[in-house]
Symmetry: C2
Subunit: 233 residues, 2 copies
């Protein structure tokens, strides 16, 4: 059996050897949910960028530029980090450069992986199928919030472990922890996520609708993956 | 209500502001279980030391010296890290300098706390009483294993949160995570801990008896705390 492990925060990723693994980057609220939504709705590619200035400069190379900090769109950018902004016919075929508070850093720190995939509840079953095809040990890399562990990403890790458990064993303590969180709360995922500190932060910005959407399962069949610095279908 | 938070690994402790808080250092297998046992059996004081050489030199200052690395006693030291070694009449009134793989580093990195307490299943009820008396927000600082999150320390954090919940609220995502782990597995704590990677490492060293002992609740009423560089009753 192959193995699953969970890195609960980008601050712990140096403890993992990513080479030889499939790594799933996860930032449920909202970067990886939004990236999945964007590619599903026809965006051609997303270039994840860690900092604002580098993102802004990509405008000159023909990218639409998107930025979120602290849960809000940054002034002067074309787009923010809400999945609903990316359900737009006018974005079909376009390339977007995206920087977010936690999600793009998590992708950045996952680059040593053999295969870097983007995970969300929105694509969880297609993601699990892709992981089975690749047939390598998996590290689920949770974005957390500014270094801290968060509930919604850990919960997703547990849900993915449950989906994979016919052929992938949760072989580390962090995986068993994520699995217990999911098993304990699987009957009321929205109820648990409402308690999370990040959901409370976002609710302050009036985006409860985003949160509800990001918890929907299998809305899309798309599994974004990194190829030549770009996230594509 | 006061609050509980959980730092799941010493690698994340820089994210917490320890000043103004009660911090509980936890390394169930075995440093904090052993420290509690030692003080309960009459050891006068334990000086936690992060590195082997500094520990060795304290021999000249009249300390007994104790060292563990990778689950085993280090050659040339008086004692290792098994609680059973400290149930010894000959240690009554003695001072011990102790260095372990994870536990003493965790204590070292908790020094900015207003009050630094040592927690274990062995003293969990007395510890909860002491925390209530101190009446400050609590950070439960888990030792983990070489930076990684582990099951037994997180489980203990959840158990302590449950014990405190009449007057302390789990107010952060890490606390809710620990609480879910505990609630999900409270009927079979030994069964869960058997799955933990550290228990499996220790079992390889033939110390299943230590593990069973470290999971016993309320064996002692002692709550070790740090005062002038020494852990005392």
């Amino acid at each position: 059996m192959k193995k699953t492990a969970v890195c609960l925060s980008p601050e712990l990723i140096h403890l993992f050897d990513l080479a030889g693994h499939t790594v799933v980057a996860v930032d449920i609220l909202r970067a990886t949910s939004t990236i999945t939504t964007a590619l599903a709705h026809g965006v051609a590619a997303i270039k994840p960028v860690a900092d604002l200035e580098a993102c802004r400069q990509l405008k000159q190379e023909g990218y639409l530029i998107a930025a979120e900090r602290g849960g809000q769109k940054v002034a002067g950018f074309d787009l923010g980090n809400s999945p609903f902004s990316y359900m737009d016919e006018q974005l079909r075929g376009k390339k977007v450069a995206l920087t977010t508070t936690n999600g793009t850093l998590t992708i950045e720190r996952s680059r040593q992986a053999d295969h870097l995939l983007i995970g969300a509840f929105l694509n969880i079953s297609a993601l699990a199928d892709k992981i089975r095809q690749l047939d390598k040990d998996v590290i689920i890399h949770c974005a957390g919030w500014q270094g801290s562990v968060n509930l919604e990403d850990t919960l997703f890790a547990g849900a993915l472990i449950a989906k994979l458990q016919d052929s992938f064993a949760p072989a580390s303590d962090d995986a068993l922890l994520a699995q217990a969180l999911y098993e304990h709360h699987r009957q009321d995922i929205p109820g648990l996520v409402r308690l999370s500190s990040h959901a409370q932060r976002l609710a302050g910005h009036g985006i409860a609708k985003d949160i509800a959407f990001c918890l929907r399962q299998d809305e899309y069949q798309v599994v974004p993956h990194l190829e030549n610095e770009l996230l594509i279908k």
